[in-house]
Symmetry: C2
Subunit: 234 residues, 2 copies
DNA sequence: CATTATAATTGTACCGGTATAATTTATCAA
DNA sequence: TTGATAAATTATACCGGTACAATTATAATG
């Protein structure tokens, strides 16, 4: 673990344990430098990381302050591991509908940057939250990267397996959002009526080296899904 | 203008002018150092900035690569100036319905961190894109920060005025998304039928010093609004 | 007491350096 | 040709420094 990552974790832990609120001031840079016995640039890097994560904001000439959104129960759209992490307060379970190796749709092939003759793992599952149906998820995993999946893995966190089990490093993702009306099939799975609203999120997940490995289409139950995003200006 | 910001702008311009595509490799760090005659850390800072903006991704041991989402016509949810910037290819106009100084709702007061006895500018407007109704927007601006607004400003880009006219620095924002069904009033303004889907985005915009100055509720026409988000892992 | 000028505080920009880790390329052996 | 091994390339971590800009606190002024 890198120093600046470790320090970021400890600062975040400190904020949580002491239940600091939006606007609360943290110790000054020099204090952190002394406390962790590292140079100024390392502390700066830790704090920049926390700033990007939306945990703090820094004000030149003033100090470092805690940033905390107030509302509870919202899913972060930006923590790009199948949101398992943001909801560990909640009870998230998965119900696997389909899991097999197949050829990708044209759309999936394009987004994964592969040929339609290449193999993908196709995963279809329903995710529940506190007993309620949260979303319907269809994913295509590039099989030459995600070489193996089974029912057990897919029932749990696929991304955790990708990181820990396969030792791959997840980099960035592109997400596309659309709102529309539920069709018959989606409505059935989400236990809603056709024509009611839905939120569709298409995501393309890449490794740190830029290779796309997962193309997912997720249809959310509009009654269960509230999202939040923390944005920074550049 | 800071060196690293200027360099970032020039690199981005270079990418656009040469129409570089996803995965295309940029010159190595040392080339940039020589070209711009700055130290390595300054170039690194420029590239980190571009990485956060989703313009490039860096691969240790390999190089710096262009990152470009493929789909056109999607609005970025993260560029937190009233999306005017992402759509200058499009024709975005505003129709002001209401503009006045008033007392905030309780909800607005809470989110702006002020008292209900304080003054706010209340702005209600419809935003059109290519002649189509894009969204209905209701905003509350803390009058002690945004001291003056008029019809002309509100018809154009409020955020541009806040930055250039008032000299304020916009920092971060918290956004909350929800999907639901249109009520009668919303449907009327968006020229849709009640009961059809809507996307509601509530945003709280803060200055760089952490002060919230704008609480907005935007209801999008689901037929017109497609969004994209570029996420990075930390 | 309000206003203004000054000083202290505090984070940011930028330099230039060493060491290291990930990746790619080149080399060599089978 | 293949596969392993070594070398070169390339970005990242981390150090420690100077100068500077924004903010806040203090002192001076009327």
């Amino acid at each position: 673990m890198l120093k600046y990552q470790q320090i970021a974790i400890e600062i975040e832990k400190y904020i949580e344990e002491n239940e600091l609120q939006q606007g609360d001031k943290l110790p000054v840079l020099e204090t952190f430098m002394a406390q962790f016995e590292v140079s100024k640039s390392t502390i700066t890097k830790s704090l920049d990381l926390l700033e990007r994560k939306g945990v703090v904001f820094q004000v030149r000439g003033s100090g470092i302050f805690v940033r905390r959104h107030r509302r509870k129960g919202y899913i972060s759209l930006l923590s790009n591991q199948g949101f398992k992490k943001d909801l560990d307060d909640f009870n998230v379970t998965s119900e696997v509908i389909e899991l097999e190796v197949r050829k990708p749709t044209e759309e999936a092939a394009v987004n994964l940057n592969i040929e339609q003759s290449d193999d993908v793992y196709y995963v279809k599952r329903i995710r529940n939250i506190n007993g309620q149906t949260l979303c319907l998820e269809e994913s295509f995993y590039n099989k030459s990267i995600i070489t193996y999946l089974n029912n057990e893995i897919v029932s749990e966190s696929i991304f955790h397996y990708i990181r820990e089990g396969l030792g791959l490093k997840v980099g960035f993702s592109d997400m596309y959002l659309q709102v529309d009306q539920l069709n018959a099939e989606e409505a059935k799975y989400l236990q809603l009526e056709p024509g009611l609203p839905k939120l569709c999120v298409e995501s393309i997940f890449h490794l740190t080296n830029g290779q796309p490995f997962d193309f997912s289409k997720v249809t959310y139950n509009y009654q269960q899904s509230q999202f939040f995003i923390q944005a920074n200006s550049y």
